[in-house]
């Protein structure tokens, strides 16, 4: 457990209860989105984690340790921090900005520079071109990138991000979101991400904590939040109905993955393992000699038998190229499967539809809706 909030409460001296007994846990490497309307306490909750706002009740544990017992500046130097207003230091170059926390930690100059170069490349900026520029010479999107790079400066295990892509145009925002997700796959930080944008939450979050008036309403995966809302407030806030309508307009064939690794049922389990390693994945679709869909096989099951057909999970849940996405999605949710095979009338495998694909389609639909 990287971050654990236990009945965290914030009461201001004037009696306002900004955050009331909020508890949730974030696993290492997870991206947790704090979502809610303005004034719901999400930013306050985030700022209590790095103690920018002092906690008045409950406990926050970082890596098992009580955060209030740590030195607050040490704590903050080990938690990357990126905010909507970016707050780049205008009198420092991009390189110096990124090197701020490393310099606080006493890294030698050469190491700081090397780190700044790496991070600039990581966020997709040419380090040679930008490292000596000043923030005032950058565009809004570039500033946001530098802001993220700066938060990663000393390679902290935890990142706090307060609407980091908030202040930029929608097109750049989508690009930065995509890029950041890609970066996160590599760096696997534990991230608390604050936003008021439900679509951003669905797109970015492994988990979403939806807050209202200082209280945690639902803490769940994006899918459950969308399709198993706990109460009316959640339903209204996520606007599941609207999103679903958007999905009705898209058919599986428009979004499915068609090139996919398969294995025949008669092959040896060992062969399946090799293929998985080659492709860098941990599951394969099992087909018969005619290319008809039979089921799935996962890495964990491979050791249980000699032939693929002995260890595979047969399944009859399939969709066709013409299934509309909202139906596919409810099928997924009811079966608990993360991937659905796309088959023709004679059960021949044509592709795969994953939850990630639907999620992506959902954000695209909503963004199209927003720009209209």
């Amino acid at each position: 457990m990287m971050i654990k909030l236990d009945l965290v409460t914030k009461v201001y001296p004037d009696g306002t209860e900004a955050v009331k007994e909020v508890s949730f846990e974030v696993e290492a490497g997870e991206l947790c989105v704090l979502l809610g309307p303005s004034g719901c306490g999400k930013t306050t909750t985030m700022k209590m984690i790095n103690r920018l706002i002092p906690i008045t009740g409950g406990k926050i544990y970082i890596n098992g340790g009580d955060s209030t017992k740590m030195n607050e500046n040490e704590l903050r130097r080990n938690i990357g921090y990126a905010i909507q207003d970016i707050g780049l230091f205008p009198h420092m170059t991009v390189g110096q900005n990124i090197g701020t926390v490393p310099s606080l930690k006493g890294w030698p100059k050469a190491e700081r520079n090397k780190r700044a170069e790496e991070l600039l490349e990581l966020v997709g900026m040419n380090s040679g071109e930008f490292i000596d520029k000043y923030p005032s010479e950058l565009s809004g999107g570039q500033c946001q990138r530098v802001g993220v790079a700066r938060a990663l400066g000393a390679d902290p295990p935890i990142l706090l991000m307060d609407e980091p892509f908030g202040a930029i145009d929608p097109i750049t925002r989508v690009r930065l979101q995509d890029e950041f997700l890609k970066i996160q796959q590599d760096i696997k930080k534990t991230i608390i991400f604050v936003t008021h944008d439900i679509y951003e939450a669905i797109k970015m979050g492994d988990k979403v904590a939806l807050m209202k008036e200082g209280q945690l309403v639902q803490y769940d995966t994006p899918a459950n939040l969308l399709y198993r809302p706990k109460n009316e407030f959640v339903e209204d806030f996520v606007g599941a109905d609207r999103a679903l309508k958007g999905l009705q307009l898209i058919r599986v064939k428009e979004v499915m993955t068609s090139s996919l690794p398969t294995v025949k049922a008669d092959e040896k389990a060992e062969a399946a393992r090799e293929r998985m390693e080659q492709e860098g994945i941990d599951w394969l679709v099992v087909v018969n000699d005619d290319g008809k869909f039979l089921g799935w096989v996962g890495k964990a099951e491979l050791g249980k038998g000699e032939l693929v057909k002995e260890v595979m999970n047969s399944s009859a849940i399939t969709v066709t190229v013409n299934t509309v996405l909202n139906e596919a999605l409810s099928l997924m949710l009811s079966s608990g499967a993360n991937n659905l095979p796309v088959v023709s009338k004679d059960n021949r495998l044509q592709g795969v539809l994953s939850f990630d694909i639907i999620r992506k389609a959902l954000t695209e639909v909503s963004q199209r809706r927003q720009s209209e």
């Binding site: 920018l52 205008p90 700066r150 400066g153």
Partner: protein
């Protein structure tokens, strides 16, 4: 470039005027005893002396005062201090100087105190504004990154406020050079003695013998301080100004 030409032209005009008057033959034969080069030089030096002393005191009190009232514990003092500065700047310089006579009597000290008080105002105002106008997101980012209070002040707030503080010092100095002419009325020394001799004898040429070098001094000091200000400003802040 154009600005440099204007500046140098104006300076040459003022210095030329001084030279011309001082070398005029007929004024030497007239009723009024003209001032010599020696007089002007020593007056310029004592003028500068008075200005420098007053400014050094004003800076050493004004900068810390302006900065201190931005600190959390002393923030409630900001309104009265800044308000007081505003009122002070509205009061004519002549009134501030003249009032020293009944308060402190005539003498060099009264003159310096008057100059110090009047010079203090722009310095306090700019020191306060320089720190107070820093984008709060910048300070929050610094806090969030784990900088201590001292580090934030040293690495973020002071460098960002420095150009504004320097502007305050420049404005104050230039104003003080001018007001120092009047400070002679309560016992000051310097070029004002020459100017006022001219004023009281209604001799415009003598007025200019004192006032033209004073103006040249003000312009030159303003220019030098502006250069210093520029060299102390981070390039990152200048680029912004150029783009705005």
């Amino acid at each position: 470039m154009r600005r440099r030409v204007i500046l140098i032209g104006l300076l040459m005009l003022l210095v030329g005027l001084t030279i011309w008057i001082t070398n005029l033959e007929w004024i030497k034969e007239g009723v009024y005893k003209p001032f010599t080069w020696g007089d002007i030089m020593s007056a310029t030096i004592s003028h500068l002396e008075m200005v420098v002393i007053a400014e050094l005191i004003a800076i050493s009190i004004g900068v810390p005062l302006g900065i201190l009232v931005t600190r959390p514990g002393l923030r409630r003092l900001a309104t009265p201090v800044v308000g007081g500065v505003g009122v002070g700047q509205t009061i004519p310089s002549l009134a501030v100087i003249a009032i020293m006579a009944p308060l402190l009597g005539f003498g060099l000290n009264s003159a310096i105190v008057a100059l110090f008080i009047y010079g203090l105002l722009p310095i306090v105002r700019n020191s306060y504004a320089g720190i107070n106008n820093i984008d709060s997101a910048i300070v929050e980012a610094a806090r969030g990154m784990g900088m201590t209070r001292g580090q934030i002040a040293r690495k973020i707030e002071l460098p960002l406020a420095l150009p504004v503080i320097m502007t305050g010092i420049r404005i104050s100095t230039v104003i003080t050079v001018g007001t120092a002419e009047l400070a002679v009325l309560v016992g000051g020394k310097g070029l004002g003695l020459i100017t006022l001799t001219g004023v009281f004898s209604m001799q415009p040429l003598t007025i200019l013998q004192g006032a033209a070098p004073t103006a040249a001094l003000a312009i030159t000091l303003g220019f030098i301080l502006e250069r210093i200000e520029n060299s102390m400003t981070s390039r990152g802040l200048k680029v912004k100004a150029a783009m705005a």
